[in-house]
């Protein structure tokens, strides 16, 4: 198993509150990704990182920001959570020389 953990695993919050999800890897891989999974949409890319302090937007980045100050940690922040951001969030990592991404266990976020 790829050394990826996500925290928290479950969170319930209220509309308008800030939320930060953490992805931690022990593999020292350069590439890290945040996806959300919703019924009927599969997984959609929110943001990704190609190195420390190097990040870029994905398909559904509105309302989200990310930070990567260390190789092992990639943080996803919802500045002001909305009900449309209720979802399951997955982090993934990729080794530079390979195409496959490996996923963490996910965080289920509910915004009331």
């Amino acid at each position: 198993d790829a050394g990826i953990t996500q925290s928290p695993r479950h969170k319930v919050t209220e509309t308008g509150t800030p939320v930060t999800l953490r992805c931690h890897q022990t593999e020292n891989h350069r590439y890290m990704y945040w996806y959300r999974q919703d019924p009927g949409h599969g997984l959609r890319l929110i943001h990704y990182s190609y190195g420390v302090k190097d990040t870029d937007k994905g398909e559904v980045s509105d309302g989200y920001s990310v930070s990567r100050s260390k190789t092992e940690d990639f943080l996803l922040t919802l500045e002001s959570a909305t009900s449309s951001q209720t979802s399951v969030y997955f982090c993934a990592i990729r080794e530079t020389a390979y195409n496959e991404q490996f996923f963490g266990p996910g965080t289920r976020l509910t915004v009331l």
């Binding site: 990704y33 949409h41 599969g42 997984l43 997955f90 996923f103």
Partner: protein, 113 residues
């Protein structure tokens, strides 16, 4: 626009028979495809992949076929086992560089004893 489509939301197959999961794509520039398997409350796990220079790739009970003229990808599982019951996603690699994956909507496979 959904560039990768899995048109069957669900599929039910008897144990021991063949399971065939399908995926259609629209962009002929894709050059690498992957299949992921996902159990409830877990992250997706990589299953098998294929490059566009091939039309078939096998790994044990799993075979992926790529029909470039039809822009169609399929995953065959033979023989199907109860542990294969999961949601299966096809994906392709987007732009070069960061190797961003684009996923289909998923197909829920149920293997019946």
């Amino acid at each position: 626009d959904q560039q990768v489509k899995q048109n069957s939301p669900s599929l039910s197959v008897q144990e021991g028979r063949i399971s065939i999961l399908n995926c259609d794509y629209t962009n002929s520039m894709f050059d690498y495809f992957l299949w992921y398997k996902k159990y409830p409350a877990e992250g997706p796990t990589f299953l098998i992949s294929i490059s566009s220079i091939k039309d078939k790739n096998e790994d044990g009970r799993f075979t992926v076929f790529l029909n470039k003229s039809a822009k169609h990808l399929s995953l065959h599982i033979v023989p199907s086992q109860p542990g294969d019951s999961a949601v299966y996603f096809c994906a392709y690699l987007g732009i070069q560089g960061a190797q961003k994956l684009v996923f289909g909507q998923g197909t829920r496979l149920t293997i019946n004893p």
